[in-house]
Symmetry: D2
Subunit: 327 residues, 4 copies
C-alpha cells in the first residue's frame, strides 16, 4: 500500500523571498533558467511547479518545456496567477466586476493549455483574493455562485487537465471563500466534474485547526478527490511556510500514513518560503524529513498502526511513535 513519494517544488523556492516589510526580498533574484538549474541540485527532487506568466507564457512555453526536460525534470503543476497584481486585489472568479471574472477564467484556461503543452497533469487553482477583509463587505452567495460557474467553465475547457483547488482560511484576504477542507469538498461536489479535485496545503490546513491526516481521509471518503499535496510547516496560527519537519513531526507522520492508506499516488510537492534560508538547502531538508518520516512508518509497521487506530488507544499510539523515533 505504500508508494515511494515523488517530490516536486515550485521553482520559486529557489528565488528570493519577500514579505510586506521587505518588499525587495531577503535574497537574490534569479531568471527562470537558473531556477530550473537550482532545482536539479536538490537530491530527490524530480518535479517542478511553474507559475503562469511568472515562468511560463505563450511565447516561452516550448522553451520552458525543453529546459525542464533537459534538466531531467517533470512539470507537476502550473499555477495560474490570479492573485499577484493589483488587478486581482478585490477578487478573481468572485470579483464584482464581470470583466475581471472573465479575465481570471481566461488566465486559468491559458494555464491549462500550457500545462497540456508541458505534459503536466495538474493546475493549482488558488482563490487567494476571492473573499473579503471586513464585515458587511461581501455578498457571500454571489461569491460562491460565481466561483462555481467559473470552475465549471474551466473544467470543461480541458477535461484531461486536473483542476486542483487549494484552500486557505485567510491571506491575502482576511477571509477567503474557499477556506477549509469542508468548503472545498462542497465546491468540488457542486461543480461535479471528474477533473476537479483538491489539494491539501499542510500549512493552510494547520491554520484552519485541521488535522491534515483527517483532511486527507475526508478528501478520500468523499469521492477520492485528493489530487495533489503541498508540504510545509508552520507554528499553527499563520502560513509561515517553513520547511517540513520543523515543528509538526507527529502530525506530518500521521499524514504520510494516511496518504498511503487512501492510496494517494500524486506528487509530494513543497510549498515553502525560505525567506532567510538558502532555497536549495531548505528544499533538501524538507525532502529528507519526509523520506525519513515515511521510512519510520515501515519501522512502526502499518498493520500495527491500523490496529492502534482501530483500538482508539492514544497511549498505545504515542508509545509506538516514541519507540520508533527514540528507541
Amino acid at each position: 500500500m505504500s508508494t515511494k513519494p515523488r517530490f516536486s517544488a515550485n521553482i520559486n523556492t529557489f528565488n528570493s523571498g519577500a514579505d510586506r516589510y521587505v518588499l525587495s526580498g531577503y535574497g537574490e533574484r534569479y531568471p527562470t533558467e537558473e531556477l530550473i538549474r537550482l532545482a536539479t541540485s536538490v537530491p530527490g527532487l524530480s518535479g517542478v511547479e511553474l507559475v503562469g506568466l511568472w515562468h511560463v507564457n505563450d511565447q516561452n512555453v516550448e522553451q520552458i518545456r525543453r529546459w525542464v526536460k533537459d534538466a531531467g525534470l517533470i512539470v507537476t503543476c502550473v499555477t495560474p496567477d490570479i492573485w499577484a497584481s493589483a488587478k486581482w486585489g478585490k477578487g478573481s472568479f468572485a470579483s464584482n466586476d464581470p470583466a475581471i471574472r472573465r479575465d481570471a477564467i481566461q488566465e486559468v484556461k491559458k494555464s491549462m493549455d500550457w500545462a497540456k503543452q508541458l505534459d503536466c497533469e495538474v493546475i493549482d487553482l488558488w482563490f487567494g483574493q476571492d473573499g473579503y477583509d471586513y464585515p458587511f463587505q461581501a455578498d457571500y452567495i454571489a461569491g460562491w455562485e460565481r466561483i462555481v460557474e467559473g470552475v465549471i467553465e474551466c473544467a470543461e475547457h480541458q477535461p484531461d487537465v486536473k483542476i486542483v483547488l487549494e484552500y486557505k482560511p485567510k491571506e491575502p484576504r482576511t477571509h477567503c471563500f474557499i477556506a477549509t477542507v469542508g468548503k472545498t469538498l462542497l465546491l468540488v461536489q457542486k461543480v461535479n466534474k471528474p477533473n476537479v479535485g483538491a489539494m491539501i496545503d499542510v500549512g493552510h490546513a494547520l491554520m484552519a485547526y485541521e488535522n491534515t491526516a483527517e483532511s486527507a481521509a475526508l478528501l478520500s471518503y468523499f469521492g477520492n478527490k485528493l489530487f495533489y499535496m503541498h508540504f510545509n510547516d508552520n507554528w499553527r496560527l499563520w502560513d509561515d511556510d517553513m520547511t517540513v519537519g520543523s515543528i509538526h513531526i507527529i502530525e506530518t507522520l500521521e499524514l504520510l500514513y494516511w496518504l498511503d492508506r487512501v492510496g494517494y499516488q500524486g506528487w509530494y510537492a513543497l510549498d515553502i518560503f525560505p525567506y532567510r534560508e538558502n532555497g536549495v538547502r531548505a528544499a533538501t531538508e524538507s525532502i529528507r524529513w519526509i523520506q525519513a518520516l515515511h521510512g519510520l512508518l515501515d519501522k512502526m509497521g502499518r498493520d500495527e498502526i491500523a490496529k492502534v487506530l482501530a483500538s482508539g488507544d492514544a497511549m498505545q499510539g504515542t508509545a509506538l511513535i516514541r519507540e520508533a523515533l527514540l528507541g
Copy 2:
C-alpha cells in the same frame, strides 16, 4: 423580509454552571420546575430547550409538557444527552463499540419521541464526544461512516422531527469530527434527508474562524439547511459561552442581517453559560442585545446594506454602521 425574532433558551441557563475546576458549580442548582419558572421571568423569552434525561424522560414527559404549557412557553428543541457521562467518553455514534453506538442512536430516537410529545419540531444532535484527542488515535473514515449511518437511521425514525446538527471544532475532544460549517453540510448532503439540517452555534463558529453571517449564507445556499440558531459570544479562541453583545457586535449584526436575508424563520435560542452571572439577567441582556441590533438594521436600511454588499466597499460599510450606532 425581516421577521421579528422569537427567543428561546436552554432552561439550564438558569441553573448553576460548572467547569473542570469548579465541578460543584458556581451557583445554585434548581429542580426542573423551578428552571421553567425562571424562564418565564425573562422578558421576551417564549421558548425553552430541554435536555433529554436531564429534564425530560419517559416517566415525566407528560408532566413536563404541562409545566411548560402552563408557563406559557413552547419547547423549541430537545437535546439528547449523548455526551455528558463517562459512557460516551470515547464517542457516541462514532464509538468503536457497537453497543455504545446502538445506545446512542436509541437515546436520540427517544429524544425525537419526546420532542413529538412536547410539540417540539427540533432535536439538537451534537457529537461532542465523537472525535479524538491525540494523533494516531482515530480511524477518520470509520468515524464518518458510522455517523452517516446513525443519522440516517434517526432521520427515518421520526421524519417530521427535524434533526439539527450542531458543529463544533473541539471540546470536549481536542478534535470533533463534525467541526465546521463545511463538514456539517457534507454530512447533511451525504445523509440526504429532508428532516436533517444544521444550526450555527455562534461561539462554535467563531472558534473555527468562521464569519457567522457567511456560514448562514452557505447553509442557505446549499439547500436551505439552516434550521436553528444558538446565540452567545466569546473571545474568538474558545467556547466561552458569554452573553450576546459582549464582544462581537458587528459580526452579530451582520449575522442578523443575513438571517433575515436568507429567510430564516427558526428560533433565536440562547446557548450561554453564565457561570458567575445570574442566569435570568444574562438571558435578559442577551435578548435585549439581539433585539437592539436587529432594530439597528432597520435604521441602517436593508436596501442600503444590500447596496454596500454589492459594492464591496468596506469603508462605506463601516461608515454605515458607525452612523447608525453612534450618530
Copy 3:
C-alpha cells in the same frame, strides 16, 4: 480626566500598500510631498509619522520640516527603518553580526537626531526582525543582552527624545523577542532610562490575546510608561491592520476609557494598512470611530463606569454599553 484625543497617522497610510503576494502594491505610489498633502485632507488629523530613510534623511530633513509645518501638521514620531531591507533580515540590535548591530544603533540615533530637528518628541523602536523563525535557531539570552545594551546606548544619545518600544508577537519573524506588554515592561525596567517607554499597537496586542485596556493599565502601573498609541483593528489572530472600529468596538471603547483614566496625554496615531481602500477615507473613518467612541464614554458616564468596574458586575457593564450605543 478626559482629554480630547489628538490624531496622527504615518504618511505611508496614503501610499500604496503591498503584501507578500502583491509586492508591487494594491494602489498608487506617491512622493513624500504628496503624502503630506494627502494627510491634510483627513479631517481631525493634526500629526504625521515619518519613517527614517523612507521619508526623512540627512539631506532632506530641513525640507521635510518646512513641508510639514507649511501643511499645518506636527511630526509626532520618527520610525527608524531597521527592518525593511535584506540587511536586517536576521536581526538588527540582536543580530549575531556586531557590524549589523552597530549599524542598527546608528540608524536609530540618526532618527533621534532627525526627530529633534523636526521638533518631534518620539521615535518608535520596533524590533520586527529581532527574533527567530525556527526552534533551535536563537540564543535568547544573547538576544536580550544585545537589545538591552543597544537601547541604553540610544537612550543616552538624545535624552530628550523619547524612545517608544513597539511590541509585537510575530511578523516578520515567527517569533519576535519583544513580543508582549509584559516583556516590553521588563525591557523598560532593565534599561531604566526616563526617556524609554512603550506604545501599544492595538493590533499587536490583540494578536497576543491581550486586552488593550488592561495593557494600558499595566504600562501605567509600572512606572507610567505608556508614551504613545497605535490604533487599528484586526480579526484577533493576525496583524490585519484594519481601520479602527471595524471589529472590536467594545474593546476599543474600554481602551479609550483607560487611556483617560491613567492620564494618557500622548497622540492617538493610526497604524493601518488600507491595502484595497483609499488611505484618506480609511484614516477618516478610523478617526471618526475613535471620536464617536470617545464621546460615548461621556454618555455612559465615567463615574458610572468606575462604579461598574469596582463592582465586577459584568451584566451591569454590558447593559451600560448597550443602552449608550443602542438606546
Copy 4:
C-alpha cells in the same frame, strides 16, 4: 551541565478526570492513599504534588507525611486550593471582597505550613480565578495591587518555602491577570522576595504563543527565577493537558536543552489531565518521552547545539534534529 531529571506528578493524575460536560468524571475516583500507591507504580516517578484541602489538611498532614514517606516518595509541591469552589469564583487574592482576599491568603499560608511539615520546598500559587471574563468588568490596577500585596504577605510568612507563581492566559476566567512569562516576571520583580519565583507550565505557555525554551531562558536571565516545571502538551490553542511528547516534540526538546543550559535543578513535574486514559500509563509515557528526548540531546551534542544557536542557521538546526531522531 546536564542533570538527570527527577520526576514528580500531582497525585490527581491517577484520579478520575472531569470537564464541564462530564462533571461526574470519565473514570474512577480513588481515596488519597490509593492515589499515592498508584504513584509508586509509575517507573521513574519519585515525587508527588498534593493539593491543599483535597489531599492534605491540618488533621491529616502527619498521616500523609507517613504515607508518602512509606511509599518512598517525596512531596515536591503543595498547591493551595484557591480556585476550586464557588467561593473563589470572582477571585482570590484580587477579589473585590476583602474577606475573600483574607481567606485566600490564609489558605496559602496554611499550604506553606503543610509544605514545611512535609519537607516540601515549594508551593504552587496559581491565580486561576483572578482575572475577568468580560470587558468593563475589572479594575486592572486594583487587581495587581492586591496580588502584589498578598504575595508579599505570604512570602514573609515562611521565608524558607518557595512560592512558585504559575501563569496561564485564561481558564477558568477568559482573562487571568498573571497570564504570561513577562507579566509573571514583573510580579516577581515587584514583590522582590528571594523565595518568590515562577514555574513554566508547558501547556499554558504554548497557549500564550510562547516558546517554552525562550521562556525558560528569560526566567533565568531575569534573576534566576525558574523554580519549578510543569510538563504536558496540547494543540497550542487550549490547555488540553495531554501527555508529554504527543504533539510538540521539537519544542519540548529545545526546552529540555535550555533547562540544562540555564542550570535548572528543580523537579520535572507532570501536570496532565488524562481524562480518557489510564493515569498510570499516561504518566509513564510522559516520563519516557522526557527521558528519551533528554537522552537525544546527548546524541546531538550540547556543544554542537550551542554552535548551531550561535550561528542562527535554522537549516543546520533542523538537520541536527533529523539526524539524531531519524538517522
